[in-house]
Point group: C2
């Protein structure tokens, strides 16, 4: 067990099997956030990064609803769209957002099979930009989409799909016991041999 | 119109409204790939980067089927899973991959609403790593999932969702006319005021 300074955010850098970009290795999803606010310039850059993601037919099917803690009414509105297990810790973050998709192409109304995937591409850009600025993002699937639809008048064919807690990591010391352990746990992943295949599903590619 | 060296890959760096990380600004999806092979070390790092993406409950619901052009049989197998409009240009890439999702949680068999989104997170990591290594990736939704299921014996509840062409950008000079124009076109995006909202869907957030 390593000793960390009291009150310091722990380091949980990945231990990759091969060298990868530092910002990918450094990213992780904390349960603990400090009270430090996110500047408007940083927050704007996060969404600008999302903006430049790839998407099928350049549809850009994503949108975001965002609320900073400095606006208590809006912050509570957004917090109420999370399942209780998430709002319990996410309420500490200085910024919350919902990630939404439009399931249909704007230009012809047809189903966009890529919409949810492309929200992932946009949010990954957002998280990457955040990491480069010393910020952390914890994404959630545990939200209340119909609550969000009602509170934010989300139109038909659009839907809230994820939530994002955005801020600065803090020490896990103040977290309730179950979350503290999750916050301190080592990051684990399957080896690439279990998910990179060639020729047949399940047969490891030689590059892995 | 700018003059580019004959045979050189054009620069299509984004013109963001605010500063963002260079690797996000530089990424784009070419239609033209050079014959230059991707090294095993680079290819391995791309999937290692995907490995460290976030996922709901750390399920890691993604997998990839990969084929390099150096193996003609496997390359043709993978190429046959793309719709003709994509295989027409993607056949030039030295590496092709399919991105797959498992729609159910391994631990309890329940539906994973995050699966397709989390494939997006993993593939975004892969693309980011590629950009940092001078490689380009063009992702596609236009594939033949049932053809892939049959050819690769993809199990029930898993499904091919995307394809990825991976390699080095080349000049658009050799592309057929319609594709050449798309390859040379300026990258366009909606302004953030059209997709970052607060309080109500459609109301621009002040940070935008």
């Amino acid at each position: 067990m390593t000793t960390t300074e009291i009150g310091a955010a722990p380091s949980k850098k990945a231990a990759p099997d091969r060298p990868i970009h530092e910002l990918i290795a450094e990213r992780w999803s904390p349960y603990s956030f400090s009270a430090r606010a996110v500047t408007a310039a940083d927050l704007g850059a996060l969404f600008e990064a999302a903006r430049w993601a790839a998407s099928s037919y350049n549809e850009q099917p994503w949108s975001y609803l965002v609320a900073a803690k400095t606006n208590a009414v809006e912050f509570e509105r957004l917090l109420s769209c999370l399942v209780p297990a998430n709002s319990a810790w996410a309420k500490a973050a200085p910024v919350l957002a919902l990630g939404l998709v439009n399931h249909r192409f704007a230009r012809n109304g047809e189903d966009n099979r890529a919409a949810v995937h492309d929200l992932g591409l946009a949010s990954a850009n957002l998280v990457f930009e955040a990491t480069s600025r010393g910020l952390a993002v914890h994404q959630m699937i545990g939200i209340l989409p119909e609550q969000a639809r009602e509170l934010y008048r989300i139109p038909e064919h659009s839907e809230a799909w994820t939530a994002l807690a955005i801020g600065y990591k803090a020490s896990a010391d103040e977290l309730p016991e179950g979350l503290r352990e999750r916050d301190l746990a080592r990051r684990e992943r399957k080896p690439t041999s279990q998910f990179v295949f060639t020729g047949e599903w399940g047969r490891p590619a030689s590059s892995t």
